[in-house]
């Protein structure tokens, strides 16, 4: 007996896609409903998560950072997952599903290149041809990841339209999917897009929060007071939040404040979609969107390519509306300072995306709003960002 998935989160979510894709979404939903609780599927996925990805990832007590920031901090070490980010949790899940569905080809979009890298890994592990769309601007600022993908046999296709970032890469991946839907699985990289993607990706990422539940009980004998995660599309956030939704734990979604909270007719200097976006339709979903008064989508901005997105997962928009989620942001320069803090105090080089979460804890700890024990999701490691950080020092 399979449980039918809900296509909406309150008023958000849904399926706003060209007719060509509707049957593929129905097919994906059916397969996912069939396999999500299937023992054989889950055994195989667990095997890959453990022996290939290196799970469970540790929950690490950051002693020096705790002393420095004045709150007890645990770091969920997704930076130690194979590939250097949480993204592999999702691509292994979807990759396996694609294999069960008999798909011959995987396409994906990538911003920072982390999701693309994770797709390349899954593509190689499951022997499925993989092609990744990446904004031309991102291929430059994340060129090491481009090379990593190519090493693993993935073709990287630079996207030259629009702002040449994540939003444009998603557009192009959707166009490809429209043309090749019968043979191709679109492996979306976050809790975004048309139903069932936000649910599928959330579920595959929920392994993060499930592990935290066990780990924090072992270490503290109780749940944390708060959990803090950076939020681009929202997959590492939903992954760690979801198993705690019913618990008395405060959840903080930290968005990229970029270089300021200003917007013009065409662009935003930030990517703070949850806190400043308006109800709209983008990439097949109804959600909060950075848009102008006519509904044209704004070009977003952030020092962290993975957060640089004008939309956000519909479930996060819903949780924010009902007050289950606190939305906040960290600016580029705050994230950079937090990046250096984690490097120096803990010997951990975090992704610039994750540094936004650390930066918020630094700001908010003193006010007491985080409580006594906080878990920060270190969604990825910072090796990919070294050139950006070196550039900023000049």
């Amino acid at each position: 007996m399979t449980l039918k998935l809900e296509p909406k989160f309150g008023k958000y979510g849904g399926q706003f896609v060209p007719e060509v894709l509707m049957p593929a979404l129905v097919e994906l939903t059916e397969y996912y409903e069939k396999y999500k609780d299937d023992a054989v599927f889950n055994d195989e996925l667990d095997h890959y998560l453990r022996d290939f990805a290196g799970r469970p990832s540790p929950l690490y007590y950051a002693k020096r950072l705790s002393r420095e920031y004045g709150v007890k901090i645990y770091l969920k070490r997704e930076d130690l997952v194979h590939g250097g980010a949480h993204k592999l949790n999702n691509t292994l899940g979807q990759g396996l599903l694609a294999k069960y569905m008999g798909k011959k080809r995987i396409i994906a979009e990538t911003g920072a290149g982390q999701h693309g890298t994770a797709c390349a890994m899954a593509g190689a592990a499951f022997d499925i041809k993989t092609e990744v769309y990446m904004g031309a601007r991102d291929t430059v600022r994340q060129r090491m990841n481009v090379y990593r993908m190519e090493l693993m046999g993935t073709k990287v296709i630079p996207v030259k339209s629009g702002s040449e970032t994540l939003k444009d890469a998603i557009n192009e991946a959707m166009r490809d999917w429209v043309a090749n839907v019968e043979t191709t699985h679109y492996m979306i990289g976050s809790v975004v897009g048309p139903h069932p993607f936000p649910t599928v990706v959330r579920d595959f990422q929920s392994v993060i929060g499930k592990e935290v539940r066990t780990q924090i009980l072992e270490k503290e004998g109780r749940f944390p007071d708060s959990i803090v995660a950076c939020t681009g599309g929202g997959s590492n956030a939903m992954g760690i939040f979801h198993p705690f939704i019913e618990e008395d734990v405060d959840l903080f979604a930290v968005e990229a404040g970029g270089s300021g909270m200003k917007t013009t007719e065409k662009e935003a200097l930030h990517s703070a979609t949850l806190s400043t976006g308006e109800d709209g339709i983008l990439h097949g979903m109804r959600t909060k969107v950075l848009q102008n008064k006519y509904g044209q989508i704004l070009e977003s901005s952030s020092i962290a390519a993975g957060l640089d997105y004008a939309g956000v997962g519909p479930e996060l928009a819903y949780l924010a509306d009902i007050g289950r989620l606190r939305t906040c942001n960290s600016m580029d320069n705050e994230a950079l300072l937090a990046f250096h803090d984690l490097c120096r105090f803990e010997g951990i080089i975090p992704a610039l995306e994750s540094s936004h979460a650390v930066a918020y804890v630094k700001k908010a700890a003193a006010s007491g709003e985080l409580g006594d024990i906080v878990v920060i999701n270190i969604s990825g490691r910072g090796d990919k960002d070294l050139e950006t950080v070196m550039g900023m020092r000049k």
Partner: protein, 260 residues
Amino acid sequence: MRIDEKFKQLKAKKEGALIAYICAGDPAPQATKEYVTALVRGGADIIELGLPFSDPIADGPTIQAGIQRALDSGMTPDIYFRTISSLKLHIPLVVMTYYNLIFKRGLEKFAKDCAASGISGIIVPDLPPEESDELRRVCKENEIDLIYLVAPTTTEERMNRILAEGTGFIYLVARLGVTGARSDVAGSTRELIKRVKTTTPKAVGFGISNGKQAAEIIRAGADGVIVGSAFVDIIAKGEDVAAKLEALARELKDGVKGRQ
């Protein structure tokens, strides 16, 4: 003019319909009137005027570029409706745009603006019937047709639903993929034309660029053809645009009349 009236007229004359797409404001708001007039002179039966959206996921490179030119020229929904009001066409005009622009304006206001400016139908490529109850209701109230798309991948079950709900004409997507000019007619197109059984007129779009293709599609049983990228290409080249739009419209119209 209502869309079904137009198709009835054409049917009486045993002609297929030519539905011509360009994007409003491409490459400048003032150009639209001249270009639409040229298309009508060439024989277009229905004008499909794009309202440009920043993230057109159903469009290929040609129309994407046209949309970008239109946005760069400052085209907005407000200017769009003003432009349309000034066209004073004697044939039906349909707006093609993405759902966020309609949603942001407010469904009710969008439909009223359409009715007031003389628009007879709305095509929204990213709005399947599942999500369109509300828009269908306001369209009905304002006597505007909501035109649905069917694709080669559409299942029987969905097909029945779409055919039951669509008015004006049914937009048959000729092939999997985004918009863009091709020179042949795919086997899947003929198959789809056969599969769509309805009394609502059937118009085929995506990939049609010449009179020969247009003729073939009408012979295969369609009531009309929709041509976009081939016209937008002419605008992109920027030479003798009005004359060339008119000439291509004439070639296509000859095709749908079966004179090719």
